[in-house]
């Protein structure tokens, strides 16, 4: 965290649209937009724009009244954030092309109620229909629609996908998400940092370690806690173990969705072994509650280190076989290559991150761009592929499993001695805020955390990588046949829970 350069700028409302243009020119990309009701402090709503890339992070603070200038024409990635701010704060983004409600559904929510305003009276609108949600229309001879979800056929999370087709190829896909909107940001307000850590763990359970790392980066910076070296190492080991099991599962699903059950099931078995390792290390198959403010909750003795080493070697060996298998099998290649292509330009415009950015040729990896914990020690280079298709994303995940195994392998037998927690005083400076970054298996997890004057949370904004990447599927499927949608979707394997919050 200390090594990230954050350049703070305060800009005027009307000038911001111009600066946004400049920022874009500088090669930085949108990491997130966080609105906050700070009327009690300085009689404004504050909107903070974070752009990141080479040279660190630029923060632009715009003080606004009840409306603000939309930047989505210059920066399409801003579209979803601005809709979210309109829903939750009621601040109107002027010039926004699409102001339909996002997470507060007109089917059950009164659009004059904005729960993230500090003067929201906690009254929940009666459960009844307040309005209609309009989908985009595609019409013409022979065009028909296929509606999928929110409840899907498999064991997966809910989301609504609306395809317009002419024959088999997809002309348009419109995604409606936020079925699982749990209002976590609001629930965190007024909680202390420790209580909020529990909620943060449950934003997107399968990425909980890496998400919590990002949250703790922010919180430990607010509290000025320096965590012990040993704890930093253990955090990295846990983070990479999570990445590995996520990727093993993701590759398994790719085989599953092309109807190739044998490698799929052997990878699912491998995932199970990794989950059992997690349990033997921390008592929890998903590593829930393994981190704490100031350090980690579990230390590793030599038998645990050996168990990790054994399984990491096994994963590496097995993955090499699966990789050769993908690269050399024409029937597998036939399904994966050229399917679900996300162009580099699209990836840039949408400010993608994680695997989806790297598979489309953008070298974005928060471990490298905004190094945290001890990641600057490893001299990591982003794994990059150019083709942006299902093939690229699958191979990239396999290659990154090797990188993660190497990181874990290097750390296991070089753990510094010492404590695993640092003591700290929960007395943050009033209204101090900080940001946190980490690279989850899906990409950058971003936190904006602001303390109140009592050591509790005044505002917490979290941006899940899935929130950034979901819109890109709408481009990835164009021209593909609808039968390939599940495969394209699985190649990104985004989180609905993290997106919907």
């Amino acid at each position: 965290m200390d090594n990230i350069l954050i350049n703070k700028h305060i800009v005027e409302l009307n000038d911001f649209v111009n600066s946004a243009d400049n920022v874009k020119g500088s090669g930085k990309y949108l990491l997130g937009i966080a609105a906050s009701d700070e009327r009690s402090l300085n009689s404004n709503f504050n909107i903070r724009y974070f752009f990141g890339g080479n040279g660190g992070i630029d923060e632009y603070l715009v003080k606004v009244g009840e409306s603000f200038q939309s930047i989505s024409k210059i920066c399409p990635a801003a579209k979803m954030y601005e809709r979210e701010i309109f829903d939750l704060f009621g601040l109107k983004p002027i010039g926004h092309p699409d102001l339909r409600p996002l997470m507060l559904y007109p089917e059950n929510w009164d659009s004059s109620v904005h729960p993230l305003r500090k003067d929201y009276n906690n009254l929940i609108p009666e459960m009844k229909k307040y309005g209609e949600y309009k989908f985009k229309e595609v019409s013409g001879e022979g065009i028909f629609e296929v509606l999928v979800g929110p409840v899907h056929a498999g064991i997966i999370e809910p989301g609504h996908f609306r395809f317009s087709l002419a024959g088999e190829p997809v002309l348009q896909l419109e995604i409606r998400h936020f079925w699982k909107h749990r209002g976590i940001e609001k629930v965190c307000e007024g909680k202390n940092f420790k209580e909020a850590l529990d909620l943060v763990t449950k934003i997107s359970g399968d990425n909980n370690v890496n998400i919590a790392i990002s949250y703790l980066e922010a919180v430990e910076s607010i509290l000025n806690v320096e965590i012990p070296e040993r704890a930093q190492h253990i955090r990295v080991i846990l983070a990479e173990l999570e990445r590995i099991w996520n990727y093993v599962r993701d590759v398994a699903w790719i085989f599953m969705d092309i109807g190739f059950a044998l490698p799929a099931q052997s990878l699912f078995a491998l995932q199970e072994e990794l989950m059992r390792l997690n349990k033997s290390l921390t008592g929890h198959r998903f590593l829930f509650n393994s981190l704490t403010i100031g350090g980690v909750n579990f230390d590793f003795d030599s038998s645990k280190l050996k168990a990790i080493d054994d399984i990491i070697k096994k994963v590496e060996n097995n993955m090499k076989e699966f990789e050769a298998f993908i690269l050399n099998s024409s029937t597998v290649l036939d399904r994966l290559e050229f399917t679900g292509k996300i162009n580099k330009k699209t990836a840039e415009e949408l400010s993608l991150c994680g695997v989806s950015a790297r598979a489309s040729g953008l070298p974005r990896d928060s471990r490298i761009e905004f190094p945290y914990l001890i990641y600057d020690k490893f001299n990591l280079k982003p794994v990059l592929l150019e083709s942006g298709d299902v093939f690229a994303r699958t191979v990239l995940k396999i290659k990154e499993i090797y990188v993660s195994s190497k990181i874990v392998g290097d750390l296991l037998f070089n753990l510094p001695k010492g404590n695993i927690t640092a003591s700290y005083e929960n007395k943050p400076e009033a209204y101090k805020y900080a940001i946190g970054n980490s690279e989850t298996a899906r990409g950058n997890a971003f936190f904006y955390v602001m303390a109140d004057n009592n050591g509790k949370i005044f505002r917490l904004k979290y941006i899940d990588p899935s929130f950034r990447v979901w819109p890109s599927i709408q481009y990835g499927v164009l021209g593909n046949i609808i039968a390939d949608f599940p495969l394209i979707n699985k190649s990104l394997n985004l989180s609905y829970a993290g997106n919907d919050m």
Binding site: E157, W179, R182, G183, V187, G205, P263
Partner: protein
């Protein structure tokens, strides 16, 4: 021998997957016998995630991996509520998911049963006081069995189904 060919040429799944513990085999057997007796066929289960953190779905999906292979014990996840006997609900019931949850339930033919998986659907979990959460499930549907856990591990789900069968027999 390579990993894949090992998989292909070993005789029994158990030889590769040494982790199918006695617990799973004994409980699974018990479950299978009980389901056969009452239903005379497998139980068909439909899942609705009403607002989880996704760890619960990951565990339910893990039940199909070679370690557990739930279908061999007579429990099959199906794509349509019209085929289902049991509705499994995960998640805290968000306002946005209430309607899809109820509609899915309506579309299951009688007799039908609801099982919840995880602490969220039983209590609302840490989200229960949120403006956008209207759980727990029992507020909206009659629940036969709550399977506890955050998330419930695969073994807990198998035990949960045993509890469900005991309940049905009575």
């Amino acid at each position: 021998m390579s990993f894949l060919s090992k998989l292909l040429f070993k005789n029994k799944a158990q030889d590769i997957v040494s982790g199918s513990s006695d617990f799973i085999l004994i409980k699974g057997d018990e479950l299978k016998r009980s389901i056969d007796k009452v239903f005379g066929r497998s139980i068909f289960v439909r899942l609705v995630d009403s607002g989880s953190c996704n760890a619960c779905e990951n565990e339910l999906a893990a039940l199909s991996n070679p370690y557990y292979d739930l279908e061999r014990f007579g429990i099959k996840f199906v794509a349509s509520p019209k085929h289902a006997d049991v509705l499994i609900v995960t998640g805290c019931v968000t306002r946005n998911m209430l309607n899809p949850l109820l509609k899915t339930y309506e579309n299951i033919p009688e007799p039908k049963f609801v099982i919840t998986a995880g602490d969220c659907p039983e209590t609302g979990g840490p989200f229960k006081d949120s403006y956008s959460v209207c759980g727990p499930v029992s507020k909206h549907l009659k629940v036969a069995v709550n399977i506890k856990g955050c998330p419930p591990e695969p073994e807990a789900v198998i035990s949960g189904f045993l509890k469900f069968m005991d309940m049905i027999k009575k």
